[in-house]
Symmetry: C2
Subunit: 408 residues, 2 copies
């Protein structure tokens, strides 16, 4: 038996069935007209933002990293909840524009911005998080061509990383940002050549569950930002402190102690160095805001036994949930939180392998997991599907096409 | 320095630049109008099929597994080269129909066929490779509803695997096919209840470079097919022996010794057991047919140094080439074959990291690779991009969209 990950808080049942937003999953599937279906829960988004607002200093702005979930309804809903948006491409800029988001609330990071992307962003008034001297020169040239002062912050590659983070974004050679020691010269060059100076972006890692590691990294980010601001000599209008707050996916994972992170930030913000006294501060979160708000629902279309092992074969799979299959940036496959959604209150009575419909042994949703006995037609729920699910999976693989998506 | 994988044979240069189908890559990119671009080479497809036809017994049919590369032009071109097509979804059925392929040349495997997929396939006259007793019952019921005898083969889960295969499709509990000992009963049930009996499908593994392992597995497949056919008692109209022939991706990999595989098949086919005397034989290949025929071209948009490491940042990445990034079914990342396509004849002079444009450290195309000094605007080629590239990657990730594709 292999355990499954912890199911996020805030999900209910109606008549023994998993319910989201006050409706049974079978009703939601009927509304969508098909499976597989991603359901995103407004009440989870609300609750997560409320927790963050309660824990963080009032001065701390909250940005949404669109890449985590760019579904149009999610972007539009987040617009009412957060202060800013971080994008990673001109495609995401277009999605934000479609949701009516003021481009001045948007910043654009990414190590490989094409000229046409820079032009679209500069023309719209989006802040560029400049990732290199070369990109800075291209942005200045495009600003001149357009007759617009490009709004530019510099993304810093810090010499430290966030400990225990799932993806390290600092601490050594990286394709992201500019090594800290070269930042002052680049920033001055941009300011002296007509950029509207927007400050610094320092991203140190992602998917960390340790409050201590987050507190330590955030402290170092503030120290580094103050030091760089002094060296630049033009103040720091805004500091994007990055993200890094993780969510529990796997057995044994526990949520970030947000109270502790918030308390440490309160203390630091109450005692900021003079060079950051007027700086607008924000953190940038993607997965932490939307990850636990999403559930992936897929229908069992076969139940079969091979050499004594029971397989539940669903109409979903890694073409929608690559990370849950264990094939995206993972070394050892572990089970995401999952359940038989239509028998949610039943006790487990058997061990099953839940797999997708693809013709590849990589297509696994839960291995050797304890579940109530499910039949063809039952719905399987895979939790923690709100971030890096629908758009971080190979939807064209084997020709089944994308899943449906719904915000409730 | 980390070596890159072996570049497939059959690529030329013109004026020092990589050429495909008699044109420089910069010309091809100009024709496509943009990068990133997948280029698929007709002459490579021709050559590979010719090698196979020369090596294999004439009696051995050649099927193309559409999932490897379902680009419409590739499917249409393969229709003139191969005998049959294997599909994995009704989406792939529609692609074959669009290419004008006779459904009677098509067989459909996949552990999770939905009822609407079974119906489409049965109505069209496609052969179902039946994966379970449950699927068999559904197929019979749909056949009755349609008034059509469903054409059905049984996919066998053999008790042996192909040794050294990248993905094992046999040898223990699997979600694929029916355990060998239950096949005779299921086959008889299908035949007695109105199915048009189409024989057996036995797939033992994929991506094997060892001729010995392939020969051994093919021998066992023939033995098993004969044994099952005797037990079923209705002959075996067709035997799909699966695929498994791999291509070299990584340093040290060497091509399959096709002569040896062919010679062993000649010997076996000349001495088939009586129960397979009239059986139509075929092998089913995807990656082996198209993998080396594809090149992924992406443009360098930044060149930067971080802590002494040089990064070439391209406009492509794992959203098109997930496997090359090392994030799809791989434990240890190794470098795919790659080159600076626009300086193809130059000697390597530096070590670089070639990365994609995505804002994630997972987005790597070549680590610490020896290359001639490349500048912004140069094109990078990643080889072995013809199979499981464009459609096996998360194209929506970060909003950059799909690459262009072109058959030349």
């Amino acid at each position: 038996m292999k355990p499954v990950g912890p199911i996020p808080a805030g999900y209910d049942t109606i008549a023994g069935e998993l319910a989201i937003g006050g409706k049974r999953v079978s009703e939601l599937v009927a509304e969508a007209g098909r499976t597989p279906l991603f359901v995103y829960s407004r009440s989870h988004l609300d609750a997560r933002v409320a927790e963050l607002r309660a824990a963080m200093p009032r001065r701390m702005g909250l940005n949404y990293a669109v890449k985590a979930n760019p579904h149009p309804d999610v972007i539009a809903y987040m617009a009412s909840l957060v202060d800013g948006f971080d994008i990673a491409s001109s495609g995401e800029l277009a999605m934000c524009a479609a949701a009516g988001i003021d481009p001045r609330r948007i910043s654009f990071a990414g190590p490989g911005k094409r000229d046409d992307e820079l032009e679209a962003a500069i023309a719209a008034g989006v802040t560029l998080n400049c990732e290199s001297e070369g990109e800075g020169a291209r942005a200045l040239a495009i600003g001149q061509k357009l007759g617009t002062a490009p709004r530019i912050a510099v993304r810093v590659n810090p010499s430290f990383e966030m400990k225990g983070s799932g993806m390290k974004m600092g601490g050594g050679a990286k394709q992201f940002g500019v090594d800290a020691e070269r930042v002052p010269e680049l920033a001055r060059h941009l300011i002296e050549n007509g950029a509207e100076w927007r400050g610094l972006h320092i991203f140190t890692g992602s998917q960390t569950l340790s409050a201590d590691a987050i507190v330590e990294a955030q402290g170092k980010v503030l120290d580094l930002a103050a030091e760089l601001t002094d060296a630049i000599g033009h103040g720091c209008p805004k500091l994007n402190m990055g993200g890094g707050l993780g969510i529990p996916y796997f057995p044994g994972d526990t949520p970030v102690d947000l109270g502790r992170v918030g308390a440490a930030l309160h203390a630091r913000v109450a005692d900021l160095p003079a060079s950051l006294a007027d700086t607008e501060l924000c953190i940038e979160l993607g997965r932490y805001l939307v990850g636990e708000a999403g559930v992936y629902l897929t229908r069992i279309i076969d139940r079969k036994v091979s050499h004594g092992v029971t397989y539940l074969i669903t109409d979903g799979g890694l073409h929608h949930q690559l990370a849950a299959s264990g094939n995206f940036g993972t070394v050892v496959r572990r089970n995401y939180p999952s359940a038989i959604a239509t028998r949610y209150d039943d006790n487990p009575t058997e061990s099953v392998n839940i797999v997708g419909c693809l013709c590849t042994p990589l297509d696994r949703l839960a291995d050797n997991a304890a579940m109530p006995e499910a039949q063809v037609g039952d719905l399987v729920a895979v939790f923690c599907a709100g971030a890096y699910g629908a758009t971080a999976s190979p939807t064209a693989f084997l020709g089944h096409g994308p899943a449906a998506e719904m915000l409730v």
